[in-house]
């Protein structure tokens, strides 16, 4: 199985390592060369460039990717790249991080598989607050 990880920050780099450990072929894309340092020793492909750039996506092998993870630090960048991966390259599994809950809802409604850490945090914090009140 092959995955593209676009955006090599804390989330992207850790995820890339995890997929690598599980035996996936992983190609990482980031516009900053120093991002590679986050992964440590990385023997798989790293493509330097912006995920909005189709030539970068193609060099990373999006054409035969089974999954694409979009986790750059820009919500709008992620939303656009995810749509391009899904609609232009017809990748089966595209998961995208969108921090803003409002935009996360909008793009979920448009059919994207969205993970919104902000929304998850809000829900979890609320759950714990309510649980503590119930205990008290």
């Amino acid at each position: 199985m092959k995955a593209l990880v676009i955006g090599c920050g804390r989330v992207g780099s850790t995820l890339a390592r995890a997929l690598d450990a599980e035996g996936w072929e992983v190609s990482v894309v980031d516009e900053d060369e120093e991002a590679l340092e986050r992964i440590g020793s990385w023997r798989q492909q790293f493509v330097l460039g912006h995920g909005m750039d189709s030539t970068v996506l193609e060099r990373a092998g999006i054409a035969d990717a089974d999954a694409v993870v979009v986790a750059t630090d820009g919500d709008n960048t992620n939303a656009v790249i995810a749509q391009v991966a899904k609609e232009r390259y017809e990748v089966d599994r595209v998961v995208v991080r969108i921090l803003d809950p409002a935009r996360a809802d909008f793009y979920t409604g448009k059919g994207l598989d969205v993970v919104s850490p902000t929304r998850s945090a809000i829900d979890e914090l609320r759950r714990r607050v309510v649980a503590e009140r119930a205990e008290a």
Partner: protein
């Protein structure tokens, strides 16, 4: 009409000014605090501070009314795409226009149905290609011994030759048409051959006849503009 403009840089602020001068209602959204404050002095409540890809900012700018048109003119193509998608699909805005900053992103706009788009680079390129004569008349072959040249010209819209027969063109001495290619099929140009815009014409000319040929075969728009 009511227009929401996203992005208050040089493009956005001048679009807003022009719309206001034409009597339209305009709200301009700008995310840089300093830039917004400058614009607010000029536009008052017409300037809204914030990121136009945030729903609450769009709502503060009146997107729920909704505007007759949203114009996304920020310097970020992904922001312009998201603004147009939110405007049209979330808020039911009928029309959205987007600026393309990097022409390499044009396919993304097209893929996602963001249209119409405006790209300064593409507009400049279209003008350059229109203004530079070499682009209208291609030198295919120089027959050195004969002192003749074979050139290719496309019949332009509104050209003298558009809709005329070859014999009615009164071609100058030293210039004759060889063939006409239309819809992928070529035929020898004779006096009765009727020319149409878009035809690819081969001509044989003496050097120095290019301008005359161009005046007959190419679009007149370039000269009118001068």
């Amino acid at each position: 009409m009511f227009v929401l403009v996203a992005g208050g840089g040089k493009v956005g602020s001048n679009v807003a000014r022009s719309l206001l001068a034409n009597g339209h209602e305009v709200v301009l959204v700008e995310q840089d605090r300093h830039r917004h404050d400058v614009l607010e002095r000029e536009l008052g409540h017409g300037a809204v501070y914030g990121d136009a890809t945030e729903l609450f900012v769009l709502e503060a700018a009146g997107i729920k009314r909704p505007p007759d048109i949203v114009v996304a003119l920020t310097g970020d193509d992904e922001d312009n795409i998201v603004i147009c998608q939110l405007a049209r699909e979330r808020y039911g805005v009928a029309k959205a226009v987007a600026r393309v900053n990097d022409p390499r992103n044009q396919p993304h706009f097209d893929l996602l149905g963001i249209s119409p788009t405006v790209s300064a680079v593409e507009m400049v390129m279209a003008l350059v290609e229109h203004e530079v004569p070499e682009h209208e008349l291609v030198h295919l072959l120089a027959l050195k011994k004969e002192n003749l040249e074979i050139v290719e010209v496309e019949i332009g819209a509104g050209a003298v030759a558009d809709g005329r027969r070859v014999e009615d063109l009164h071609l100058p001495e030293g210039a004759r048409l060889i063939s006409v290619m239309r819809n992928g099929a070529a035929e020898i140009a004779v006096g009765a051959t009727k020319l149409e815009r878009g035809d690819q014409v081969l001509a044989i000319i003496e050097p120095g006849r290019e301008e005359h040929l161009r005046q007959l075969l190419c679009s007149t728009r370039r000269r009118e503009k001068r």
